[in-house]
């Protein structure tokens, strides 16, 4: 058996196994049975006729979208001899992730003991009724959160990444062209500008873009009208792959919600709404310590943001349910992180009483709610908003706060940013380094939040269009470098980290697409 064929067979077998447990499989089975009634289905050619029926009725397209969705997420086929652990990571990264997780657990445990608050408790019936009544206005609640502190902030995580070392890598004492002058010291492969130009070819100067070619000075006949027409066609066809390709040039505002749902293969079935309601019931019944962290985070970040404070209630409705969603645990199969574990009180060490905490295995950090906030502009029905956020998280956002060597993992993104800056703006890089303002210290918070809360919302949504379109987070460091390039003149004048921060404090007036285009395609290198 040739290696490539066996790899393909392995991938197919694994995807089939995954889809077998899905709603789609049950629906296809039902449809196949129902189709036997149809006159065009003949017994002699049963298999072919049913296949034809699936094609014409659009069910094949749904299956295609589901397979495409799995392929977008699927890790590369693992070697049969490799244990599942290996799917995760390089040994030293796994170790670093493990120790980081331990620190988080210790922090959470000490918060627990200091405040004498249990990790989880069942709510008394009276409290349950009260919460149910004010479910749609949890923002009006003003619980005393002064004693709670976020478990960690992005800058704590940055320190861990700075200290990452590959034990097998010797940089040497003397400076060479290979020495990393930035903060990240691990030798991951990152794309250079020629490779980025190829990867992001649709962002080129000769291709129309929303965010550039739809500005008021440009007549809509030149690009915008046609682009909208094509977008509508893509939605009618219901083809995920086509939608993903289309959205690389940006999504028209009116079509964005549906396009994103199509790309992520989210359709709101009755089962999904029921599932969300079940999660809501879980929130009502059990109170988690993590809930207070969520409240605190929302109050500190989204509620203070001019664009997002109106969505405060939605954020609670999404994040509290998110913490109770055990289906999120599935993403740990391709995440280098592990979900925290605990035991039912009094049953320490007994495996039958081992549980994950929180149920979804994700401990929120300072700024976490900003992953949800922009989606509130697109989706107003809570269960749909919830589904979209969950899918965005298990596809993209989890990579921004776990240590891995994945090209879209935060470590690679940081290294890509530093490499781009060092290579194409060496004077600026050197100057900032000299004054003690390592550029990554400023851009890290932008990338960890995928720029949410830093850009104007319409610009942010144009950026996230491209994240979906390219199925990669690499656009984040490219934008970060482009921002530095744009403000290079001012940055060359500053003489301290604080002053550099001030120059880059306000990104709300930036237009992302022109910045990206200029940096990638129009800068003389």
């Amino acid at each position: 058996m040739l290696q490539e064929e066996s790899d393909l067979s392995l991938t197919i077998a694994q995807i089939v196994q995954k889809l077998k447990g899905s709603n789609l499989y049950a629906q296809l089975e039902r449809q196949a049975w129902a189709s036997l009634q149809r006159p065009e289905i003949k017994l002699e050619s049963l298999k072919e006729d049913i296949k034809e029926f699936f094609k014409t009725s659009g069910w094949e397209k749904k299956l295609q979208n589901a397979v495409y969705s799995e392929l977008s997420v699927f890790p590369l086929p693992s070697h049969p001899a490799a244990p599942p652990e290996h799917l995760k990571e390089l040994v030293y990264m796994r170790k670093a992730q493990g120790s980081w997780e331990k620190r988080i657990l210790k922090s959470l445990n000490s918060m627990c003991t200091e405040l004498s608050i249990p990790l989880a408790r069942k709510r008394p019936v009276g409290e349950q009724k009260e919460l149910l009544n004010k479910w749609n206005e949890m923002g009006t609640d003003e619980p005393d959160l002064s004693l709670f502190r976020p478990v960690y902030a992005p800058k704590d995580f940055l320190e861990v990444l700075i200290n990452l070392r590959n034990p097998n890598y010797e940089n040497g004492d003397s400076l060479s062209f290979r020495t990393h002058l930035g903060l990240i010291q691990v030798p991951l492969k990152v794309k250079d500008i020629p490779e980025l130009k190829e990867f992001f070819v649709e962002l080129g100067l000769t291709t129309g873009q929303l965010g550039i070619d739809d500005s008021t000075q440009v007549p809509p006949e030149l690009f915008e009208n046609e682009h909208v027409r094509i977008g509508q066609k893509v939605l009618v066809e219901q083809d995920s792959a086509a939608a993903q390709q289309y959205i690389r040039q940006g999504s028209p505002t009116a079509l964005r919600a549906e396009l994103w749902a199509l790309i992520l293969n989210i359709s709101s079935q009755p089962e999904d709404i029921l599932y969300y309601e079940q999660l809501k019931t879980n929130v009502i019944q059990h109170d988690l310590l993590v809930d207070s962290l969520i409240y605190k985070d929302v109050k500190l970040t989204a509620s203070n943001d001019d664009y997002y404070f109106v969505f405060e209630d939605y954020l609670y409705q999404v994040l509290l349910c998110f913490s109770r969603d055990t289906s999120v645990l599935a993403h740990f199969a391709y995440n280098s992180a592990s979900p925290p574990k605990s035991y039912i009180r009094g049953k320490l060490g007994m495996e039958e009483y081992a549980v994950f905490y929180p149920p979804n295995g994700v401990i929120p950090f300072h700024g976490f709610s900003m992953y949800v906030a922009p989606l509130c502009f697109l989706y107003h029905e809570p269960s749909r908003l919830y589904q979209m956020f969950r899918e965005m998280y298990v596809r993209f956002f989890f990579r921004l706060h776990s240590i891995s060597s994945h090209p879209s993992g935060i470590v690679s993104l940081c290294l890509l940013f530093e490499t781009l800056l060092q290579t194409y703006l060496p004077q600026l890089f050197y100057h900032l380094r000299e004054i003690g303002a390592q550029p990554l210290r400023i851009s890290f918070k932008w990338m960890v939040r995928a720029f949410s809360g830093y850009l104007a919302t319409d610009q942010l949504l144009l950026l996230w269009d491209r994240i979906l379109g390219y199925n990669s987070l690499e656009i984040l460091p490219v934008l970060a470098a482009a921002v530095f390039a744009f403000r290079a003149v001012n940055l060359m004048e500053v003489t301290s980290l604080a002053a550099a921060e001030a120059v880059l404090a306000d990104l709300s007036t930036l237009k992302v697409m022109p910045l990206l285009q200029i940096f990638l395609f129009a800068t003389v290198t």
């Binding site: 058996m1 040739l2 290696q3 490539e4 064929e5 066996s6 393909l8 067979s9 392995l10 197919i12 077998a13 694994q14 089939v16 196994q17 995954k18 447990g21 693992s78 070697h79 049969p80 001899a81 599942p84 290996h86 390089l90 040994v91 331990k102 657990l105 210790k106 445990n109 627990c112 003991t113 249990p118 990790l119 989880a120 408790r121 069942k122 097998n168 691990v186 030798p187 991951l188 492969k189 879980n282 059990h286 055990t326 289906s327 645990l329 599935a330 199969a333 925290p340 574990k341 605990s342 035991y343 039912i344 009180r345 009094g346 320490l348 039958e352 009483y353 549980v355 994950f356 060597s405």
Partner: protein, 175 residues
Amino acid sequence: MSRVLVPCHVKGTVALQVGDVRTSQGRPGVLVIDVTFPSVAPFELQEITFKNYYTAFLSIRVRQYTSMHTPVKWVTCLRDYCLMPDPHSEEGAQEYVSLFKHQSPSMTFPKWLSHPVPCEQPAPHLEGLPNPSSVSSEVQQMWALTEMVRASHTSTKIGRFDVDGCYDLNLLSYT
């Protein structure tokens, strides 16, 4: 097709270095691992599997004994097989690797002595997509493998996070 692990003895690595190991400044870029097969019965080698740790290129040479009168010869089965596309970065550094018989066409038992492998052996290139029915028959074989791989890993939705309605927790555990 039943495949059996062949007992072998893997010796420690030896650095290939010119000059005195102790006084020499540089670290050697080439290391040699000797593998011997204690069992005397002849076998047909199908596959070699190992986990890489920062080796960039691999060459495999085989020494065979046939009869008492022919002198033993070293034959190269694989030369500079690339394990890490960019040796200065992490790609392929800790991968599991399998080398198959077909990658070294002369790696069939009797032919080793007479046909050493030429230097460049490009991997077999698939034109377009493979035949669906042949792929689906392979899937049957792969099924057993994936079942093994996923044995400890549940892919079903769990749903409930509590144990018999109870989710009263003390502290998080550090395992």
